[in-house]
Amino acid sequence: MSVHSGADPRPQAQGPSRSFDRWRHRFSVLMVGATLFLIFAGGLVTSTGSGLAVPDWPLSYGMLMPPMVGGIFYEHGHRMVATGVGFLTLVFAFWTARRETRPGVRRLAWAALGIVIAQGVLGGITVRFFLPPAVSIAHACLAQTFFCVLIALSYGLSREWLGAPATNSDTTGVRGAALAATLVVWLQLLVGATMRHLHAGLAIPDFPLAFGQLVPSFTSTAIAVHFGHRVGAVLVLACLLRLLVAAQRSRDRSLARMGVLALGLALVQVALGAATILTAKAVVPTTFHVATGAAVLGTCWLTTLRAWRRLRPGPAMTRPVASVAGAASTA
């Protein structure tokens, strides 16, 4: 971060691009909400086993609007919500291309459009090839990544990002803790999606123990993946605890609140995971477990973005810079 070593580390806001665009920001928040709902709707498809209730794609039984009966309600409903989100993303990309002067934001908006299209095609492939796990897993993980892209776009348009540059230093390591938590949660989602699409969600039937033991014997891939997801949960909680402590000690109240939110959501998520096992994958807890997983990831990612925006690099990271500054002041 050598850019920050000068007396005035940030270039001044230039031109109208840096002014707050209220409606585009609101629109982006709407997209984030719609995408969380879309992830829930997609989770319902798998939870209800309706992934193949509509055998064709992109049409549904050769129609745009089939009767919404039985499993079709979930599968075609998911396609409809997805089409809606795709349309919002299209509008947003063109809107941003017209109004936005930051090239990074414009590019990310186009990337969002590309991802949502790729996601639709992945959905089609998984239907055409009878839900091969690798494609279903990729579809699930790309959904979460798309969600993060939208959060980044939305934050980039927020008053906070556009506002005054950071003055406080990250003395307690919030930036690193938040980034680490985000990466660990993303990996945990990858393991969770793998478990789900290998139908290994009940490979270990008891909770909190595994076959009455702390560590079960790994007699099948399903058990190994399932146990990996449980170990992942412990790692996520540890990361979030570390983030919470760092955020509380940073005296930045917004970040402290984010830390509480992230850990709180993660605890709800663990309870939902337990409920998923204890109810033998009942539709409601299982699907909320998917959506809450996305919410945990989104919260960690937003905390990361906010921490990196609100706090300058901490002492450990700026030591060389500080010595340069010290040398400059004595000169």
Partner: protein, 259 residues
């Protein structure tokens, strides 16, 4: 702080996806090569012996499942009093929907019969629940309901398919190239719908009726191993018996499946 590092991080996040995606297609089983060579195979002469008997059930009959018809009003309309599914159907001690087939002893090449086998969807249920056919024979799938169904067998050896029949009266023709026991077939719109398709390499089989009785006709004289298998009870519960038949003889064979 500029936007770039975050954009890069997000792109990085999609790398494993691309990798996962690339691996997807390789997992699909290759289309089964046709093993059937109807023109070349010398048709084994049809015999004149038969085996008749009854398959009994020994065990506790599981309680019938109440079907949640509310998911499709059209199905609910067809069953005003509700629908209960009894997959283990016992009458006078006889078990229905049991496939009784010649497991070994029929050594010959048997071309697929020319006539179609019908799997009908009627009243949001399958008729019959046990379909038996010879490899290469045509399976006609019909939708007799005023609602839509998708027909989705999940074979292990043959090629999987999933076809939709949105309108009443629609028919599709499919076939399975290789012998395979108890392929579950279901409808993902109406998850309670379930039937089993067994693809055999000889035409010597019968499916038990309501009272558990069956007759296998047209057998050449010989010694056979005959097996009885039920879809819900599964392959593990199958029971076999040895029997020798002479030309023109009507042999008797009773078998008992345990629950």
């Amino acid at each position: 702080m500029s936007f770039k590092p975050f954009a890069r991080l997000l792109l990085l996040g999609s790398v494993p996806l691309a990798a996962a995606c690339g691996g997807g297609e390789a997992e699909k089983p290759a289309a089964a090569p046709a093993t059937q060579a109807p023109a070349a195979a010398p048709a084994a002469s049809a015999g004149s012996a038969s085996i008749a008997g009854k398959v009994s059930f020994d065990g506790a009959v599981p309680a019938a499942e109440k079907v949640k018809l509310s998911a499709d009003p059209k199905c609910a309309e067809m069953h005003k009093g509700g629908l209960e599914r009894q997959t283990v159907h016992v009458k006078d001690g006889g078990l229905a929907d049991v496939l009784v087939y010649v497991k070994s002893g029929a050594n010959g090449s048997y071309p697929a019969p020319a006539e179609d086998v019908l799997l009908d969807q009627h009243g949001c249920d399958y008729t019959p629940h046990m379909v038996a056919m010879v490899a290469g024979q045509k399976l006609k799938i019909r939708n007799s309901d005023d609602t839509l169904h998708n027909i989705h067998p999940r074979p292990q050896i043959n090629a999987e398919f999933n076809v939709g029949q949105p309108r009443k009266g629609m028919e599709s023709e499919k076939s399975f190239d290789k012998a395979e026991m108890l392929i579950p077939v279901g409808c993902d719109v109406h998850p309670w719908m379930r039937a089993y398709i067994t693809v055999l390499s000889n035409p010597f089989f019968a499916v038990t009726g309501e009272d558990g009785t069956f007759t296998i006709k047209g057998l050449p004289a010989g010694e056979y191993e005959v097996e009885a298998v039920h879809g819900k009870l599964g392959k593990d519960k199958a029971v076999a018996g040895k029997i020798t038949v002479k030309d023109g003889e009507a042999a008797k064979l009773d078998l008992t499946l345990k629950g």
